[in-house]
């Protein structure tokens, strides 16, 4: 009934896309929608300075050390060496200049040969 076939656009899919758009708007604007005068408690405001790096680490860590929901049990995984190389590059450059770009490039220079060449 509602499984979209290749290259046909169906209303069910478009409806879900509209719903997902509303979810994006709702979550990204959640606490700025209300114009009521209220403030976050002080401890929460202080705590929020630790949220950005926590969010990044929470997204990145499983993508580096897990495969299909399991902790990897081998050292032969290109992602480990790519992430280590990228981070090492960043701290070697002390975060100056284009250090983030260098993290991406050096990491991929390690990742692609290991992944495509050795199948890691």
């Amino acid at each position: 009934m509602n499984s979209p076939a290749l290259d046909t656009t169906d209303l069910w899919t478009l409806g879900v896309i509209v719903g997902l758009t509303l979810v994006t708007v709702l979550t990204r604007c959640f606490f700025v929608l209300s114009s009521q005068d209220w403030h976050l408690p002080h401890w929460a405001q202080r705590g929020l300075q630790y949220a950005p790096i926590a969010a990044l680490a929470a997204v990145v860590a499983p993508e580096v050390v897990m495969l299909q929901g399991q902790l990897i049990s081998t050292w032969q995984d290109a992602r480990l060496y790519a992430a280590l190389t990228g981070a090492a590059y960043f701290f070697w450059r002390k975060g100056q200049g284009q250090a983030v770009l260098g993290t991406i490039v050096s990491g991929m220079l390690v990742y692609l040969p290991l992944h495509l060449g050795l199948g890691w």
């Binding site: 290259d7 979550t27 969010a55 897990m66 991406i104």
Partner: protein, 251 residues
Amino acid sequence: MRQRHLWFSQARSWWQHPAFGRGIREMASVSPGLAAWGLMTGVAMVKSGMSSFEAVAMSLLVFAGSSQLAAMPLMAVGAPVWVILSTSFCVNLRFVVFSAHMRPYWMHLPLRWRMFHGYLTADLSYVLFTRHYHHPPANPDESREQLAYFSGGSLFNWVSWQAASLLGIALANVIPTHWGLGFAGILALLGVGCSLASNPLRRVSAGVAGLAAVAAYALPLKLNIVVAIASAVALCLIIEETMPKRTGTAS
């Protein structure tokens, strides 16, 4: 008419500010990784069975890579709509945290601008902004600078993400997913994460969140991300309370 004029002059006060260009330049240094990730998201949408039109609509409207990636397999099997939407909501819960953080920065703006900036608050627009601006604006000049910086970065992020994603949709049958180009997006997030690790408690936060996200991975709906953020923030607050105050707190 007058209304429209105000709207325009507000936007102009941002893009004419020097911080707008600084926002673009700093976002540009991380965009190659995000572009690779956007490209693979475009490829993945088409490979999951969407038509090109649907994939383009999803990219332009939903504008949330992780939520799109989570929704695709569910849509492909025709899962119930409420399951798809609540999955996407949970994957996006970190944005709810971001919006709580941004509230004091934006509350002096009209609702339409708060929603405009909110919609564009992707991971990197938020992280790069909060890396620079630790306190909400104290006066109109500071506010103008902050919003200029944020707009420059977040608009550049939107444009480069969309360009890459649309390219991915167009080239879906040429680019093999097994190359793993999407890993560049993870490296971009890693690089930005390193740039945030500027004091010991933030490094603790990263370590705790990373461990918790792996340990709680089995939770449904990507709730491990939220559990990780909550436990890292809570632990840092406890350490802050119990450790003797040192000079030079959060920088």
